[in-house]
Symmetry: C2
Subunit: 203 residues, 2 copies
């Protein structure tokens, strides 16, 4: 009954939907449960987003925009390649700490096929181009191990997202050891891993 009104409601729905899609997957999440989490009826949700796919679209766009903002902020200060990569990773981890389902949702976006992922990655296109140029420059200057910069970026992406989303695997690997499975430990680990992987052979 209470009328919250337009834009606020939309963003609340999108946030809750990202949580649900991240936790249960796109197919697994139901409009009924999402709307219940928001505190409205399913038909109210369908008033804002006429189909489930429309809702997904809005989530992808919102997530892409949010991630792009965080990364852009992290890249503001200039730095040496390794430090720059580290700053981006830590920004993504900070986002994941504040919003645990976020990385899972991004992974789900990848799972849903290129179309879905493009809708997410649209906002990140300029950042990707910057990253590739930057990696290439680092390689030319001998600061980064030489190889295809786009593929390197891809592998970096998978390592970071994987370390954020494969919590079940982690607990199977090291046991339910809180001190070792904590986000902070994983963050430091993946930062060290990436720094080592970027290092040129003679450094």
């Amino acid at each position: 009954m209470p009328r919250t009104g337009g834009e606020q409601r939309r963003t609340t729905i999108v946030e809750e939907a990202i949580r649900a899609f991240g936790r249960e997957g796109y197919q697994g999440a139901s409009l009924d449960r999402i709307s219940q989490a928001v505190g409205i009826r399913k038909q109210t949700l369908l008033y804002y987003f006429p189909t489930k796919d429309d809702l997904l679209e809005a989530c992808l766009a919102a997530a892409g925009q949010r991630v792009a903002e965080e990364i852009a902020t992290a890249l503001e200060a200039p730095a040496e390649p390794g430090a720059r990569a580290e700053r981006v990773i830590r920004a993504v981890y900070a986002l994941a700490e504040e919003w645990p389902e976020f990385p899972m949702f991004i992974r789900e976006a990848g799972r849903l096929g290129p179309n879905a992922f493009d809708r997410f990655a649209g906002a990140l296109d300029p950042l990707r181009d910057r990253a590739i140029e930057f990696l290439q420059a680092g390689m030319d200057a001998g600061q980064i191990r030489k190889q295809d910069p786009a593929l390197l970026l891809f592998t970096l992406y998978t390592a970071v997202i994987g370390s954020l989303t494969e919590a079940s695997v982690l607990s199977a690997f090291v046991g339910a050891d809180d001190a070792r499975t904590s986000l902070r430990r994983r963050e430091d680990e993946v930062v060290a891993f990436v720094r080592a992987a970027l290092r040129p052979p003679d450094a």
Copy 2:
């Protein structure tokens, strides 16, 4: 009508179910479509696996066993740490080439929570222990960058599985460039990445 009989049918169903679960996710895959792919009615499938969860269980066990075999074979010959890691990665990639839905299914196992993943990883427990001992020994001998071996193994896992399963992401990063997105290219990339990440700082 044709009676194929017991064990053969079971394995056929499990193979097809792994494909379906990998492609569409556990929730997204339906017993109806799986049985149709096998060429039987849903109720015949339910005769072999009384519930969908029973079917999942069988898939997890079969997948774990298969992966354990491949890795064990790849580890038969002794080798220097980097080469050993490379051999394991190439073995997993060979399996993925022969059976594309396989890595996706493994990732889905991780997504379904620790319980599900443990059922998959049970067969891999001894290998994990071997891997950790091996990494530790390599660190002690100065052949591998020093850090928590269990966490390192986890990060290696995420990098390899990620590079195998995030195909949509890859095409968004480098475009639909077949030559660059090919399995072979990704394989070489991730091998180089891992070798670099394992290298000790002074090598």
